[in-house]
Symmetry: C2
Subunit: 140 residues, 2 copies
DNA sequence: AACGTTATTGTAAAAACTTGCAACAAGGAA
DNA sequence: TTCCTTGTTGCAAGTTTTTACAATAACGTT
């Protein structure tokens, strides 16, 4: 699969290994849309690689996040969902009706740079869900 | 306990009920510091009110968040911790070691105002966890 | 003070997630 | 190609969090 050739060098060069489990999970993240729960990933990746187990999925997702290949997205309830670390955008969810719109990542760029300089942290870059009240729900 | 008189009116006026479970949990949040896990809260509050059960703790914490009395803070691994909703701040979690620091809410104010004007949403205001790499983990 | 409504809780069981450890296999070296 | 090292995985058992529903109790009303 073409995914492998793209991600493998990044991992191998840091001393990590390329395994079919990791490739299957990357493949799912790449081709199955955004905001996938660990269970989503498990069920889909299992089709590619049936010996896959759930603990491996959890460990791999964490691993991919640590290495910047995936990004965690917070669902409303605190459970983590995952997606590939590209095509960056965020969401605002209406507290009233649950309606959801996207926010360009560029809006957050300057905030990130400001946080980096005041905190000493680098590579701040996160998928974020904000909450607000949409125009319709603002009517009395 | 003095906690009750402070929070009770807020809840009662919205049609919610004052229960010893809720009071015990608020008491814990008030007097046991920040970033408490549901289990921390359970074990401490149980001393005040031994009939307390774990599902009640989870439900009550969520309830307090919905009503603005408590605030969730994400630990590095995605597990939620809770604290009283005062002194608004956010977190940056290090992707490497999980270390965590606070970010002043004021840093985000202008972003929120900008998002409100471009999106039409109002009252945007969220507790957010960002991810980055802390100074120690930036060493090669 | 007793009553009724209905928000809230406890119970029990399931689902989601984590951990420890022995077995395995990726990839460099011989 | 075969051997070794050690990063990864599977297994099994633990812990944490959620769910469904019947029982309970807060509190406005009588």
């Amino acid at each position: 699969m073409s995914c492998a050739s793209e991600y493998a060098p990044q991992l191998r060069s840091r001393g990590y290994r390329i395994t079919p489990q990791r490739m299957a999970i990357l493949h799912v993240l790449r081709h199955s849309g955004e905001h996938l729960s660990p269970r989503d990933v498990y069920q889909k990746a299992k089709k590619d690689f049936p010996r896959l187990t759930e603990p491996t999925v959890y460990r791999t997702l964490e691993f991919l996040v640590r290495n910047g290949l995936a990004r965690p997205a917070q669902a409303g309830n605190g459970r983590l969902r995952y997606q590939l670390a590209t095509g960056d955008h965020h969401h605002i969810v209406c507290r009233g009706c649950g309606d959801e719109i996207e926010v360009e990542h560029s809006l957050l760029e300057s905030l990130y740079r400001k946080m980096e300089s005041t905190s000493g942290y680098k590579r701040i870059d996160s998928h974020v869900t904000f909450f607000g009240v949409c125009p319709e729900c603002q009517q009395p």
